[in-house]
Symmetry: C2
Subunit: 139 residues, 2 copies
């Protein structure tokens, strides 16, 4: 696994540093999407706040992670699929945010349906974000 992480960094032509290895491994461990705040809490002792900001930024640029829009002013980040290349992302799956526990899931089983837009509108990215109750919080 550790070897896997350095391999990902190398594949994207990034220097192998402690911060990047740690933050990237956090994504693998949790499995779900994380907001900046989550990452800061889980690694604030190890790294400076600024480093986390910059690391997330480069990860997004390189196509390692992608952003998930939310309605509460806290953008979340999640691992991209292999197909994601630098510049243009291909994360056309649904994201689910639980109102109870706050966990953000990538629902890989469902893909985002194509939408016909009015004339002149050209879609670059489509985000389908559903909020509600997840299967753990469902009573």
């Amino acid at each position: 696994m550790q070897a896997n992480i350095t391999e990902i960094l190398r594949k994207h032509q990034l220097s192998i540093t402690e911060a990047r290895k740690k933050i990237l491994s956090l994504f693998w461990e949790t499995g779900n999407a994380m907001a900046h705040g989550d990452i800061e809490q889980k690694s604030s002792a190890d790294f400076d706040r600024v480093t986390i900001y910059r690391t997330l930024q480069t990860f997004v640029e390189k196509g390692i992670i992608h952003t998930i829009p939310t309605a509460d002013n806290s953008v979340r980040y999640a691992l991209c699929k292999d197909e994601c290349a630098a510049g243009h992302h291909h994360d056309d799956h649904v994201h689910f945010i639980c109102d109870d526990c706050g966990i953000t899931y990538c629902i890989d089983e469902v893909s985002v349906p194509k939408v016909k837009l009015p004339k002149g509108f050209k879609a670059a990215q489509t985000d389908l974000v559903i909020s509600g109750t997840c299967n753990k919080c469902d009573l």
Copy 2:
């Protein structure tokens, strides 16, 4: 139009104040969605920052406006349709954010398709946000 605005406020059992009239009229004038920052720029001379925060909050609660999630940490607000009642919104239309000019459109013509979720997941709200180039910025 001015009469129209006070009528909306009254319909939702809100006191008629300068701040609320002004902010609500801004939404009608621009026609598109606005982020908090936009509103602050267009009325900062008239009102305190805090008032804008609180006004937007009450408008959302009363179902006059709804939030549009974005991937850049700046939630946008747009007018609701008449059907929107306090508590639960019915804005099942698509939102389009132009990467060029930044304008956020409500694409009323297209409605959000229903999505089947895995077992145990219950959807409360569904947001379909598309980013790309709008018909004004399209060369």
